[in-house]
Symmetry: C2
Subunit: 194 residues, 2 copies
């Protein structure tokens, strides 16, 4: 029945509200406070909408936007794992998978399976859509840090080589044109910090 379906969907959407209380390592562009994962999700979806034209051939921007709207929901249970922090990758993957099971499980069965598959695709980072989505997820924080004057690079004492290895490689992989644009800007920032 359609009313039961809407009730299940509203359970999911009201639970999703908790993503607004998950704090990230990255700050707002003005450095005034930490960004939360809900507003980050909006921001990267907007990145996809605006920068989709620079995606490699065959990428479907609307699917990428959908992935990015969902990509961090698991953090409601598992928290945000800062990219420059240390964590047990296997334990985190298990927590996130349990979170996906619980959260997408709130939805009607068919829809829960479809959205879980989209999140799995994002995590798998194999399809061009997932690689572009992941590249945008990695591309936004350096731009926030450049705007705020260092942000999480300062708080995590990040070196240029670490940044290229952990972040640049993923951006270059899924969105080479965006890395070509960003790389000289980041290099100049770290040069000035020496």
């Amino acid at each position: 029945m359609s009313s039961d379906r809407i009730s299940a969907q509203m359970d999911f959407l009201t639970t999703a509200d908790q993503l607004k209380s998950v704090s990230r390592a990255t700050t707002l562009a003005d450095g005034s406070r930490s960004e939360n994962s809900a507003e980050h999700s909006w921001h990267v979806a907007l990145y996809a909408l605006v920068l989709g034209e620079h995606a490699p051939e065959g990428v479907n921007t609307d699917r990428v936007i959908r992935m990015l709207l969902l990509h961090d929901l698991v953090e409601i249970d598992a928290g945000d794992a800062p990219i420059f922090g240390e964590h047990d990758a296997a334990a985190l993957a298990e927590q996130e998978s349990a979170a996906a099971e619980r959260l997408f499980g709130l939805l009607p069965g068919d829809q829960g399976r479809a959205l879980r598959a989209l999140w799995d695709e994002f995590e798998g980072n194999v399809t061009p859509d997932a690689q572009f989505a992941k590249a945008l997820d990695r591309f936004q924080p350096p731009n926030q840090n450049l705007a705020s004057g260092g942000g999480s690079w300062i708080s995590y004492d990040v070196q240029y080589d670490t940044l290229v290895a952990r972040v640049g490689s993923k951006i270059a992989h899924g969105a080479p044109m965006l890395w070509d644009w960003l790389q000289p800007r980041v290099a100049a920032f770290f040069e000035r910090m020496r």
Copy 2:
């Protein structure tokens, strides 16, 4: 040149970050603080993704998601006008139009015009896509208020009839199935508050 294009797009995207600092009348579902317009934009885009199946025939959910990602950007300059507050509608429309001019004007010309047209379509509230998007924008706050135990209904001393007139009518217009679901829940809440 593609690099200049990306620079203009990044100007727009970094300016858009300011939407995270625009506060709304509605609170988080747990009532802990006011929601900001960026996380609200994420939430209603997620509503569209999940509830798109209940849209009237012919609605394109992906276009609705794009509209909702953009719909509040003008608040960066014009602020959020609470739906139950008093304001000069003509003056507000003028402020928002000037904001759209400035913000979409940061983008490359062709793209700025396309996204401005999408925002104008949302504001116009004439096409089925715009009416469904607008309905979702009106549907989310009552659900937040039901979850938090009253929220902006309490702070603005809202009566049931006012709610039906200002909010229910727009939801019923663009998403009748969602109003059918919500109306008895809202009516029961106001009945309990008597």
